[in-house]
């Protein structure tokens, strides 16, 4: 019994120690955001600001039109999230469950799209969108999410879908379920942890996406928060207090989303039902 208690204590010790180490930069972010300007560059750094000031949040928020940037970011992220969740799971289902000519080749092509560094395809891709006359619109940022949403997500979901036993598919098919039905009624409900990861990754990546908005958006009224944040920096350093305050506002929704979503990382109840 003491062995169990001891191992329990050891577990907490390791977890807490690790958590302290990995969160240092985040703590520093919070601390900087709460500093008055003259405390920001003190050496050695002061971890607990005194006085504590909340003025940076208001200052950062008004230094740039962040309310507008936030609205744009929310729109783009929301649209992408929906698109990616549906299209990626459909494509992944296609790759995981069907046999068709050229499937292997197509799958390798899908993986291949991840392997060419984006720097060299950036200009040709930009030209395509320019020919569609869609520069300075949100289309180049959103449409790709509806077209599979990228190899990473498809491959990820494919791996999870392939781990789901086929017995249920076949049972459902005998019951007269269509392929779409199987995807919707069997595969998706059984993949909650996987879909949760996709929601988290999709949200975070679009929320924080920089390169796409930077290249495709031109009018400042269409800017997203991630561009706005980088406007607090220049070659002579950064307005760290404002930058950190604005960054915190920016990542707060991400933290909340993650905190809420991680609850779905629990064993699917249905899973054991299959095997039984």
């Amino acid at each position: 019994m003491t062995g169990r208690v001891l191992s329990r204590i050891a577990l907490y010790f390791v977890l807490i120690l690790g958590a302290c180490i990995v969160t240092i930069p985040f703590i520093w972010t919070v601390s900087t955001a709460l500093k008055t300007p003259e405390q920001v560059y003190l050496l050695p750094p002061r971890w607990i600001p005194s006085p504590i000031s909340f003025a940076n949040f208001a200052k950062a928020w008004t230094a740039l039109p962040f309310a507008l940037f936030l609205r744009n970011t929310m729109f783009v992220t929301g649209m992408c999230l929906i698109g990616q969740l549906f299209s990626a799971s459909l494509v992944a289902y296609g790759f995981a469950r069907f046999k068709f000519t050229g499937k292997t080749a197509l799958f390798y092509m899908l993986l291949g799209t991840m392997m060419l560094p984006g720097q060299v395809t950036m200009i040709p891709t930009f030209l395509i969108w320019r020919n569609f006359r869609l520069i300075d619109t949100f289309y180049p940022l959103i449409v790709p999410a509806y077209l599979g949403g990228g190899a990473f997500t498809i491959f990820l979901l494919r791996q999870f879908f392939m781990s789901i036993p086929r017995d249920l598919d076949e049972a459902a098919m005998i019951d007269g379920c269509s392929y779409f039905g199987i995807w919707w009624r069997i595969i998706l409900p059984l993949s909650k942890p996987a879909l949760t990861t996709v929601v988290i990754f999709s949200f975070l990546s679009h929320w924080d996406e920089f390169m796409g908005p930077l290249i495709y958006l031109q009018s400042m009224e269409k800017y997203t928060v991630s561009i706005g944040l980088r406007l607090f920096q220049d070659q002579y350093g950064a307005q760290l207090d404002l930058l950190m305050a604005a960054s915190l506002i920016h990542i707060l929704p991400c933290i909340i989303l993650f905190f809420v979503a991680q609850r779905y990382f629990i064993k699917g109840i249905v899973m054991s039902g299959i095997k039984g």
């Binding site: 990995v22 790759f95 068709f100 790709p144 392939m162 905190f259």
Partner: protein, 321 residues
């Protein structure tokens, strides 16, 4: 009976399979295939962002034996070393952490969030903190490495103790061409609670408790369960993280771009940073494309081999037997 249903189904199935992947295929044809092919063509050209001239294999010649071969091999070696160390360490770390955070622990939600925070922390903030961690004189790391420890000494009065620094001359880390790359590798471990860990965590949910219960009844210990249940059933996720880890690590960019700019003396010149320099600083887009395609072929071959080998160790529950 099953034979009767399946035969006609395969025809329908191959049609439907195709339909399902259509969104991606459409996107691939319209937006991805063109630019990829264009960059392949450009890799045989001189393209200074203004005019395109066909120069045959000139870019490749320059890379392998010509004036740039030193930088090419340097960046490739740096990147390969980074991959070699950061991927296995990162994978193991993430997997162990995922197993820990999959326990029934009080406040597990908080722990998971805390460990994920590095992925959310603004890059500038983490870069600044890392600068302090690695600072030769002021850094946390070297302060720790130079802590005075009692070392046994043999003196006139027998064995005594002398307090000496644990390491007398700790490395200059980011400011030394020998230690900058190890510093960046060390830094990559800070992200073990990120994306990879979440994927492992999701993967762990797919393993039915019944296996563990059965093993417990058989008297199997924690290690045995981990080794013979968790690992085999997690292989699809491990495989995914391995492939993605390698592809991702080969394209490491941001850390070096923000923290070292590739220096000192190109010790942290990663492959993609090298591509970036030529694409957007030196106007050698054709050469950059050639570099990119070499990396592509490298990664593609690597991935193909892994897929071929995967049938030996990756086990899918839903695979057609």
């Amino acid at each position: 009976m099953s034979n009767k249903i399946r035969k006609p189904l395969t025809h329908r199935a191959s049609f439907w399979g195709f339909i399902f992947i259509c969104p991606w295929l459409l996107g691939f044809i319209i937006f991805t295939a063109g630019p990829m092919l264009a960059s392949l063509v450009l890799s045989f050209c001189k393209y200074d962002l203004k005019s395109v001239t066909f120069i045959g294999a000139g870019n490749y010649h320059r890379m392998f034996v010509g004036s740039e071969h030193e930088y090419f091999y340097k960046s490739l070696t740096n990147t390969a070393l980074y991959v070699l160390f950061s991927v296995p360490m990162g994978l193991t770390g993430s997997l162990l952490l995922a197993v820990l955070l999959n326990q029934k622990v009080k406040g597990v939600a908080v722990f998971r969030t805390l460990y994920y925070l590095p992925s959310l922390t603004p890059a500038v903030a983490s870069a600044l903190v890392w600068m302090w961690v690695f600072h030769p004189e002021y850094g946390i790391l070297n302060s720790f490495l130079t802590i005075n420890l009692p070392f046994p000494t043999l003196g006139d009065q027998g064995i005594g103790f002398a307090f000496r620094p644990m390491i007398a001359h700790p490395p200059d880390w980011l400011q030394s061409s020998a230690w900058a790359l190890p510093a960046l590798i060390l830094m990559s471990l800070w992200g073990i609670g990120g994306q990879r860990m979440i994927i492992f965590l999701a993967g762990l949910q797919g393993i039915s408790d019944e296996y563990y219960e059965a093993a417990r009844i058989d008297g199997a210990g924690a290690w045995h369960q981990f080794r013979h249940i968790t690992i085999p059933l997690l292989t699809p996720t491990i495989f995914f993280n391995l492939i993605l880890g390698i592809v991702g690590a080969f394209q490491v960019f941001t850390a070096a771009y923000i923290m070292t700019g590739g220096g000192p003396n190109n010790a942290t010149l990663f492959y993609v940073l090298y591509i970036y320099r030529h694409a957007f600083e030196q106007f050698h887009m054709g050469y950059a494309a050639a570099l990119a395609w070499v990396l592509f072929i490298l990664l593609f071959t690597f991935t193909l081999i892994q897929f071929k080998q995967s049938s030996r160790w990756v086990h899918y529950e839903g695979e057609t037997k």
